[in-house]
Amino acid sequence: MKRRKILSLLGLATVSGSLAIACSNGNNTNTSAAPPTNSGSSAKELVVYSGRNEKLIGPLIQQFEKETGVKVKVRYGDTAELAAALQEEGKNSPADLFFGQDAGALGAVQKAGLAAPLPASLLNQVDERFRSPAGNWVGISGRARTADYNTKLVKPADLPNSVFGFTDPKWKGKIGWAPTNGSFQSFVTALRVSQGEEKAKQWLAGIKANNVKTYGNNVQILDALSKGEIAVGFINHYYLEKSKQENPQIPVAHHYFNDVGSIINVAGIAILNSAKQPETAQKFVEFMLSQEGQEYFATKTFEYPLTKGVPTASKLKSLEEIKSPKVDLSDLNDLQGTLKLLEETGVL
């Protein structure tokens, strides 16, 4: 009886103890994490929802904090899930900025009326292919779709100029793709938007008829390419660049198309209507588009800098030379139709 009482008291003590810790924890995080209210608004603080990885942009954001004295709080997450969360939060969102991994998500946020118009001084720094025509988001860095090929198995002269060239039966058993990958789906959406449903369907069916090998993601495609399992793979350009860092001898090279096959997708930023610090938020975008920010993307993540006049990493074909068609990247948010098509053709 007595022992039980002591035990239950002990239990109670632990529970209340942990609750107390929790509360103090909660309060700590509360005061620091909550959107700046009356006390916080004087200190400059930005809240960014980022679909880009901490490893990728964390160092750059620290640099911004150091140079401007603005504190940046970043919620890292999945681009699409963050876009959905922003739509749920609506005008009560604690976020000032949305840094999305692809244009489709930025388009969805824009179409939900959540993104504020950006000043022309920011928009004009970037080629109009890579920003929202309505002016509500701007691309920060770009990635090209390419057909990477194994240099021991394929001669560059044999590679087609159009992505449709790969539906030729001579490529049977030699191609790889990753149809569950977001960038691949964006490419198919661009194919539909620029060429029409019927041609997109033909392309998918044609590649499938060539016994294309299916992989889970871009990294696996590159791995298969280097081993010679496949001769050609549809992929984003920067995977090869990254892999060359560790293995400069890798027998793989880029091939660019003259059509939608080399569509350039972007990661970009929107300032939200809910932003408590719109001016500071603009400073953040400005920093990302500055020489310093853009060079970071060119040299650290091997992406294309989008600000005019900032040079691309030396070995890459420049953006001006890639003849991708004019597609409103905001329209790439129609993935529903793409999924339907992928299901119909039996690709997914």
Binding site: A22, T29, N53, K55, R75, N92, P94
Partner: protein, 516 residues
């Protein structure tokens, strides 16, 4: 008071889903719902839940009996080892299974390559999904069946023996029927887990309903269709709950006399010993040794090439803190629900108890977004704080503890409480002095189950935790996004050790209970 919070917790996601679904036009909805593919995938999920539950029961019942009631060599070791797979996150487990048995470039294929095997039969699809889910969720049933087995009054079996029943007949006619509530409670958790899990079906390329819901959020940014799909899943959950209700019976599962303190004679296995041992070894090998081994291999390979070992201390502390809090708080809220449902059965208490299961059967992202909606718009001062995250865990994982407490409570004879009342104790004293000590095993396993699932939770943690609050689950996710195997492996190993530690702790508590 507590019951009110529970009721709010349950209804919020449902209200949200209905609101979102109504946002879509009726015509579109009908078209979407009656689409053959939607129905096909819904059927896939239902079949998956049924098969995984059956397979888990086929593993858990013999295993519980072997580890509790027989002279299996190393019985205590197997008792612990067969529970530990609960600690393996299913996405880590599935990934390692693919690495071991995938059609090409897997461990097994490389071993068989000298024999001319170029490609193994595909693990992808239903077989792999069932294999992975069964291997990492059967412990739900095992825990529940085992505590049921320990709670059975041995005099029942002795009576059966005296009446000339063979041990086998005793098992099937006396023991198994007594285990029914535990089987049903554990089976329900397994079935709902099979419905809600996203990691395994997506890695194993199986078209489950959660995958459809995730694809809708991820690719079409269509919240209305996603909410409609989630509501369809709620319908399926309701059917499962209804089946479970029918499987429960009104029979009494407590004993009239005092059950405690008597030892059960262990059954002699004889030559069957080797078969039983083989079963245990194969099971633990697949569900425990394999994932740990492959994770360690990745870590070593990563560390030798380039990566450095990441600093996980703050992630470990955050994970443990948040999960412990969630476990304690949710169990606190589960108690009144379970007690009301068992001691004061009425339509209302039954509905509240049943409804708690809905949160557990829905994919995390649907629950997370519903709380984002309510939090940001109605409770901005609470939004994205630790209490909010704990509340999300509560909504998601409450039924695990409701279930275990309920099964424990069913084995407590209400006459004990009535006698206490006759002896002049008030309600509170009875609860404190009689009921709570007797349902302690249920409370403890509830706490442990919630801890183990909360620590693995990802979508709600990403959206609702305070900014910068990194947990092991988010760390592993970031590492996989970066395609950094070594860091993902380091995070997984840290998570495995935390989970193993807490599972061991739970088992030790169980032991104390038996001695005390």
């Amino acid at each position: 008071m507590l019951a009110t919070v529970v009721a709010i917790a349950i209804t919020l996601p449902l209200i949200y889903l209905v609101v979102r679904t109504l946002g879509a036009s009726g015509e579109e909805l009908v078209k979407f719902i009656t689409r053959p593919r939607t129905l096909q995938v819904l059927f896939n999920s239902a079949a998956l839940a049924a098969i995984v539950t059956t397979c888990s029961a086929l593993i858990a019942v013999p295993l519980a009996w072997l580890t509790v009631r027989t002279d299996l060599p190393g019985r205590k070791f197997w008792l612990v080892a067969t529970t530990l797979p609960l600690a393996v996150p299913s996405y880590v487990g599935s990934f390692t299974l693919i690495a071991a048995f995938g059609p090409r470039g897997s461990l097994l294929q490389m071993l068989l390559e000298p024999l001319g095997v170029q490609e193994l039969p595909s693990i992808y699809g239903l077989p792999g999904t069932v294999l992975a889910m069964t291997l990492f969720t059967y412990p739900y049933l095992l825990l529940s069946v085992r505590s049921g087995l320990q709670g059975i009054d041995p005099s029942l079996e002795e009576a059966a023996c005296c009446l000339g029943r063979s041990p086998r007949a005793t098992f099937f006619q006396v023991v198994l029927p007594q285990l029914r509530p535990s089987l049903v409670a554990g089976g329900l958790l397994v079935a709902l887990y099979a419905l809600r899990d996203f990691g395994t079906p997506s890695l194993m390329q199986f078209d489950a309903f959660t995958r459809v819901i995730f694809l809708q959020y991820k690719t079409s940014f269509d919240r209305h269709a996603a909410a409609a799909s989630a509501l369809m899943l709620v319908g399926l959950i309701a059917v499962i709950l209804w089946l479970e209700q029918k499987a429960r019976s009104r029979a009494a599962y407590y004993s009239r006399g005092s059950a405690g303190g008597r030892c059960v004679k262990l059954a002699k296995l004889g030559a069957w010993k080797w078969l039983a041992l083989g079963f245990c070894i194969a099971l633990v090998g697949l569900s425990l040794v394999l994932p740990i081994g492959i994770t360690i291999f990745w870590l070593i390979r990563g560390l030798t090439t380039s990566a450095t070992f990441p600093n996980l201390l703050s992630a470990v502390m955050n994970s443990m803190g948040a999960s412990t809090l969630a476990a304690v708080v949710a169990t606190l809220f589960a108690l009144p629900v379970a007690i009301l449902a068992v001691r004061f059965p009425s339509r209302l208490t039954a509905i509240v108890e049943r409804m708690t299961y809905i949160g557990f059967g829905l994919p995390g992202i649907a629950i997370a977004l519903s709380l984002v909606f309510f939090g940001a718009n109605y409770l901005p001062w609470l939004y994205q704080t630790l209490p909010m995250l704990i509340f999300a865990y509560l909504v998601l994982f409450l039924p695990q503890s409701v279930g275990t407490v309920r099964s424990s409570l069913l084995q407590v004879n209400p006459q004990l409480e009535e006698s206490a009342r006759l002896l002049g104790r008030n309600q509170w004293q009875i609860l404190k002095e009689i009921t709570l000590p007797l349902v302690r095993p249920g409370i403890l396993s509830g706490i442990a189950l919630i801890f183990l699932t909360a620590i693995k939770e990802l979508p709600a943690t990403l959206l609702l935790a305070p900014i910068g609050f990194e947990t092991l689950a988010t760390q592993i996710w970031q590492a996989t996004e970066n395609v950094s195997f070594a860091e993902a492996a380091a995070g997984s190993l840290a998570m495995l050790s935390v989970c193993f530690g807490s599972t061991l702790f739970l088992l030790l508590q169980e032991r104390h209970q038996k001695v005390g």
